[in-house]
């Protein structure tokens, strides 16, 4: 197989999907319901990325003291929710995660 041909095709498809709306959708006027629907994309996508990482970091559900992802991510979410400060939430969650994972000897 020609690897460069394979990569060229992958590149073309990837960039066209990413450019779909940003480059070619300039003149598109979305109907109102679609505009409102797009507001929920970040909440839906980010939750769908985070929740499986917290509950099943290795693929199978792990709700135990050995799973440092769970307390770490809960703390990140709670601090951000309460304070609205993203960076603060991330830093505190790193500490919780690090201590839980390497400090407690669980």
């Amino acid at each position: 197989m020609n690897h460069w041909l394979a990569i060229g095709g992958m590149m073309l498809l990837t960039v066209l999907i990413r450019a779909s709306f940003l480059v070619f959708g300039q003149r598109l006027a979305f109907p109102d319901w679609l505009n409102r629907a797009l507001h929920y994309v970040p909440a839906a996508v980010l939750s769908a990325l985070v929740v499986p990482m917290a509950l099943a970091p290795a693929g199978t559900v792990d709700i135990s003291l050995h799973n440092a992802y769970l307390p770490g991510i809960i703390v990140a979410a709670l601090v951000a929710w309460k304070s609205g400060k993203t960076l603060l939430a991330i830093v505190i969650s790193f500490v919780v995660y690090g201590v839980w994972r390497w400090g407690l000897g669980l």
Partner: protein
């Protein structure tokens, strides 16, 4: 503030806000590099894939398909399916970027990843888009440079480091996503969207080609929209 100074601030902020994502992506860059060599790619094609495709998940799947000698149409169809979620990101960011010239929209589209989408969308929603293309550019370039660097490290190692995947560095990405998403959930429909998407993501997490993520996104967005309609209906009848 002068124009140049403001631009520098925006670039710095875009890069700074992306730092946790860089940490999270690093091990995957190394693993990709080693996998690509193991799958029979030359160092030049392995690095070339990171330079030209720049999409972690499809690169992983791509090299394993190439290694298995899969026919090109199958490889390309798989790439298409794995990357479909980026069309959602592209549509979500369009309202902010609609009036920017093409010389901005093309490169920013090329560099659009899950991570940069999360960081940039958050910024624009909370702080507006003033000078936003510089912020977005910095986030993109940081992700790109980071990915190329760690791919190169993986390629030159040529064999996987035991335990690299289990170091837990991906937590940095998860924590950032969580911190970005949590404050959005104060509105009932957004909370519903997140809960529905999470449930689908948990149930569908065995699905190949990132279809779990796409399915979760669609169900989540539909739930949010329905709850919004329902709330409005209640207000009108009340």
């Amino acid at each position: 503030m002068t124009h140049a100074l403001k631009r520098r601030t925006l670039l710095l902020e875009g890069a700074r806000d992306t730092v946790p994502m860089l940490v999270g992506a690093a091990p995957f860059g190394v693993i990709f590099g080693t996998l690509a060599i193991a799958a029979g790619l030359s160092p030049a094609t392995a690095l070339g894939m990171s330079v030209l495709v720049f999409a972690g998940s499809s690169q992983f799947i791509g090299v394993s398909l190439i290694g298995a000698g899969t026919a090109l149409p199958v490889l390309w169809l798989t790439t298409f399916v794995v990357n479909l979620r980026h069309a959602l990101y592209s549509a979500t960011l369009l309202p902010y970027a609609r009036d920017w010239p093409l010389r901005w929209r093309w490169p920013l589209a090329f560099w659009l990843t899950d991570e940069t989408f999360a960081v940039v969308e958050h910024r624009f929603r909370t702080k507006g888009t003033d000078g936003g293309q510089w912020y977005w550019l910095a986030s993109s370039l940081a992700m790109y440079g980071n990915w190329l660097f760690w791919t190169m490290v993986g390629v030159s190692l040529g064999q996987s480091l035991p335990g690299l995947a289990n170091l837990g560095l991906d937590f940095a990405m998860g924590a950032t996503f969580a911190a970005i998403v949590a404050p959005q959930l104060k509105r009932r429909p957004a909370l519903g969207a997140a809960l529905a998407a999470s449930a689908v993501a948990m149930l569908a997490r065995g699905l190949p080609y990132k279809l779990d993520l796409m399915l979760a996104a669609v169900v989540g967005v539909a739930t949010g929209l329905l709850l919004e309609q329902w709330h409005k209906g209640k207000e009108q009848t009340a």
